[in-house]
Amino acid sequence: MADLKLSDVEKAYGEVKVLSDVNLDIKQGELVVFVGPSGCGKSTLLRMIAGLEKITGGTLEIDGMVVNDIPPAQRGIAMVFQSYALYPHMTVRDNMAFALKIAKKSKSEIDEAVNRAAEILQLGPYLDRLPKALSGGQRQRVAIGRSIVRDPKVYLFDEPLSNLDAALRVATRIEIAKLKESMPNSTMVYVTHDQVEAMTLASRIVVLAGGGIAQVGTPLELYERPNGEFVAQFIGSPAMNLLSGEVVETGAQTRVKLDGGGVATANIPTTDADMGLKVNLGARPEDLIASDDDDYLYQGEVDLIEALGELTVLYFKPDAPGADPVLAKLAGTHAELRGKTVKLKADPARLHLFHNKVSLLYR
């Protein structure tokens, strides 16, 4: 139950800096999710908080105390690993009791903590089994139980659901959400590459990219007001379409003439100085609407259709071979559109403008 403060945290392997200028304040009771593409350093950052990786620059504070050089066990953290990391030769009970035994807690204290955790996680019937006799979901629950018994200040989760199959992943995700709800004062840091997990679990999301923090915010902030093209395309699935163009009208609303021939108006204020600015227009596939209007944003031939029943994803033929196709997500079924030329428009309030990959809102 604690605050966590990272100031100018940096990680270097020899000359190579993999993380730098990481500044982050995590308040007690928050569930902060680190997301980012593979190799962005999100797991490394978590392991630095855990004390498994050395912090090569900056400071890490837990509860106002700098813990850079304090061994993991004394930081008051508990970690749940992707591979569960259960001790294979110990029963579920011994796995959960191990930390307390090491800490030389009394037998009754250990039993109480283990039984309480087993109750929360419904592991009661499995306490005397070895990990190999458990299913993947049960193993992950034991791993979580191992953290709970220690009653840590900060819970760390390193992609805890990646080894589970799809159905189990959803179920365990909901369990983690409930667990968080039942422990409103506990601080949790959660690493994942799955944005659904990030969106559903997080009170705040930290998007990591290129060796640093790209943006921090609540899930909806990141979805609605991404600060750059990277976050815009990383959050949301399928990814946001980016269409290049230039500003032709400025003011409270900005009008952009797109290179593909269309025009679009976005509710983003610009000044006269921005006239003629080269921008990328960002439009999420789910915000695009098919329309016969002359004032269209994009026009193209539908190359491929993914009919998901409730909605249909249209893949347009790219202008140049190899270029990213424009995608549109329309409600209902639209099988008849395949091979047709379709015009798209969007609500001005739902559009984004980027210059040099940075959102015009965050200039």
Binding site: F81, F98, A103, R150
Partner: protein, 325 residues
């Protein structure tokens, strides 16, 4: 006939014979013994399929029987006869053995060997494997420790003969004693302890073996379980004894029993170093002292050794199978 041609011919006959055996026996089974036609066709096919595995196993089982089972039975039979092999004397050889002081000494020494050598070699091997795991020059250290494995027991014994030499100019033990102003002595003639000096040679050889196998096993332990233990607050000793060792227990047992079996068979070291004198005899060297003089007696000792090895062997194979699963 030139040797090359002879060799080639042997290969052709051997390989051709194998192929011919499988092909012909299969045909005979399918066409002659259980033909897949007539009113009993279905039953015949099932029977043929039941017999077929044994058909294929037969050559291997026959060879094993000829070269392993027959000698065992034959040895036992021979051990029931006197030194010349023409008078049946029942279990007299065994009774005489157990009555003899030298045999009892050999059994006692052998027991010491079986207890000390595998324990020491496995322990040292595990220690070295763990200590060199993260070292930059760990691989170099490991190759040095592994090197004795490549030396024959007789060669190793010769090396250690120098180490144990009674001459202070040659033997390191006496050189140290000399520098401390102590009189030279022959370590191999110190009663009781000379056994341990001999055992140490085998430990020196076998530590490399234990180290290599256990090092691989240690590397196979999932890193996360160790990290989880560190986060749980375990110190390096607790991580080693409560997390790492239990996870490689199966491998430790296999290494331990493998060395145990080797110890029960080793004879060269004792034979070369002391010839079994000064109460250092162990069963195999004791057996050697009867070979060609009293084969009945010698085979009786061989049989005792086999009976001792057997349970360890069975355990070893069971463990190794468990490991493979």
């Amino acid at each position: 006939m030139s040797p090359v041609l002879q060799g080639l011919l042997t290969i052709i006959i051997g390989v051709g014979g194998c192929v011919g055996y499988f092909y012909a026996s299969n045909i005979i089974l399918d066409k002659v013994i259980f033909p897949a036609r007539g009113p009993q066709a279905g039953r015949n096919i099932n029977r043929a399929n039941k017999v077929r595995p044994w058909l294929f196993l037969f050559p291997a089982m026959f060879a094993l029987g000829l070269y392993l089972v027959y000698p065992v039975v034959g040895s036992f039979y021979r051990s029931l006869f006197d030194r010349l092999g023409n008078n049946f004397i029942g279990l007299d050889n065994y009774i005489n053995l157990f009555a003899e002081e030298a045999f009892r000494t050999a059994v006692f020494n052998n027991l010491l060997w079986v207890l000390v050598v595998p324990a020491m070699a496995t322990f040292l091997g595990l220690l070295v494997a763990q200590l060199t795991d993260r070292l930059v020059w760990g691989n170099f250290a490991k190759s040095l420790i592994f090197m004795p494995m490549a030396i024959s027991f007789v060669g190793a014994s010769l090396i250690w003969k120098f180490v144990y030499s009674a001459n202070p100019d040659i033997g390191i033990i006496n050189s140290i004693r000399d520098s401390m102003g102590l009189e030279a002595l022959d370590p191999l003639q110190v009663p009781f302890w000379n056994n341990f000096f001999l055992m140490f040679i085998l430990v020196w050889i076998q530590t490399g073996f234990a180290m290599v196998i256990l090092s691989a096993a240690l590397r196979g332990i999932p890193e996360e379980t160790i990290e989880a233990a560190i986060i749980d607050g375990a110190n390096p000793f607790q991580v080693f004894f409560q997390i790492k060792v239990p996870q490689i227990m199966g491998t430790i047992v296999v290494v331990w029993t493998t060395i145990t079996i080797l110890v029960l068979k080793v004879f060269d070291i004792v034979y070369t170093m002391t010839g079994g004198n000064f109460d250092t005899d162990i069963l195999p060297s004791y057996m050697m002292s009867f070979m060609f003089r009293d084969d009945g007696r010698a085979t009786a000792v061989a049989f005792v050794i086999m009976l001792l090895v057997l349970p360890v062997m069975i355990w070893n194979i069971r463990q190794a199978r468990k490991e493979m699963r």
